[in-house]
């Protein structure tokens, strides 16, 4: 009974955030169709990848005719943040078979991480963290897949002349601002952004990967400097 309660608590905790998940998933579905993917490809990608920002990145790179390997590398880079979530949640998701760990890991999303971790940190009473996480992650996964399918069905009705591809950089922009926590992260973003503009002419969109790496390096050293001066801000 304990187990069921934590599972339901997790799903309940995830409920409010569906307001953000559902439209974002629908946009991803619409965008997939807008770059020429078929319905089955759209659903297949949604299930295989299940990471909206990286899917939008792939669509943008598809629409500008980037090479295959650049799309793969860029999508991985965008999803590297999951290692942080995975490392942070790991202590709560132990004493499970490898297959079950793999299932929980597959469902990991920004939202499931945020909801679960904030609940785990705030809750003193005894609970099964694994079931709470599973409840929130599963609800988000199901809502995401259904919404992406609805988006893919609506996609053909959206005219391309509206410049809908502009929704990609706009969505990345909101995610970017959410990632700006302190001065070093701002420096990382400014460095990455400016170098990406300067390196735009490099072949095969390699400027994107270069700019990301240099942005990370800049943020890292900015933080090292602030440690030396004894402040984080």
């Amino acid at each position: 009974m304990r187990i069921n309660k934590d599972f339901i608590d997790g799903a309940h905790g995830a409920l409010p955030i569906l307001i953000g998940v559902i439209p974002f998933a629908m946009i991803t579905g619409v965008a997939a169709v807008s770059v020429g993917l078929t319905f089955s490809e759209t659903v297949g990608m949604s299930v295989l990848v299940f990471a909206g920002a990286s899917q939008l990145v792939v669509f943008q790179l598809m629409s500008t005719g980037s090479p295959w390997i650049i799309m793969v590398l860029t999508a991985w880079v965008v999803n590297v943040r999951f290692t942080m979530y995975s490392a942070t949640l790991a202590p709560y998701l132990q004493k499970l078979s490898t297959a079950r760990k793999a299932l929980l890991a597959y469902m990991l999303s920004d939202q499931a991480f945020g909801i679960s971790l904030s609940h785990f940190v705030a809750t003193k009473e005894e609970m099964d963290h694994r079931w709470y996480y599973f409840g929130s992650a599963l609800l988000i996964w199901v809502a995401w897949q259904i919404s992406a399918i609805i988006g893919a069905l609506l996609g053909p009705l959206v005219p391309t002349s509206l410049g809908f591809d502009f929704a990609f950089p706009l969505s990345f922009m909101a995610l970017m601002f959410a990632a700006l926590r302190d001065r070093p992260t701002v420096i990382a973003a400014l460095t990455g952004g400016i170098i990406a503009v300067l390196a735009k002419g490099l072949p095969y969109n390699t400027g994107l990967v270069l700019a990301t790496i240099l942005g990370i390096v800049a943020g890292y050293f900015a933080e090292s400097l602030s440690f030396q001066h004894g402040t984080l801000q």
Binding site: V57, V72, A75, A105, Y106, F172
Partner: protein, 109 residues
């Protein structure tokens, strides 16, 4: 792109992404993430997303355009204000798209 290379793309992105999600849940208690790596990873979202956003605004049709004729740059700056104040993906998209359509309707063509 051919159907095969599209599915290979999804498979490669999906498998890589799964590995990123699974790695440290699986390795917990077996190996620790090096401190420098966890510090560096913190900057990935900011750097990668900025590297995507900036050129999309400054190079709307493949070449640098910093003039007032670049509606995507103007609408993007408006969207940036919304993103900065709200950090809300949906609201940023709505305001940015509305600005772009308004600029195109009033000054475009």
């Amino acid at each position: 792109m051919s159907a095969i290379s599209i599915w290979m793309l999804f498979l490669a992105v999906g498998l890589g992404t799964f590995t990123l999600r699974f790695l440290f849940i699986y390795l917990f208690g077996k190996i620790e993430m090096p401190y420098w790596l966890s510090r560096a990873l913190r900057f990935v979202p900011a750097a990668a997303l900025a590297a995507l956003v900036f050129p999309a605004l400054t190079h709307p049709s493949g070449h640098l355009d910093l003039t007032l004729q670049n509606f995507r740059l103007l609408a993007g700056l408006g969207g940036a204000v919304v993103a900065w104040r709200t950090r809300n993906v949906l609201l940023t998209i709505l305001v940015g798209m509305a600005l772009l359509w308004t600029l195109q309707a009033v000054f475009g063509m």
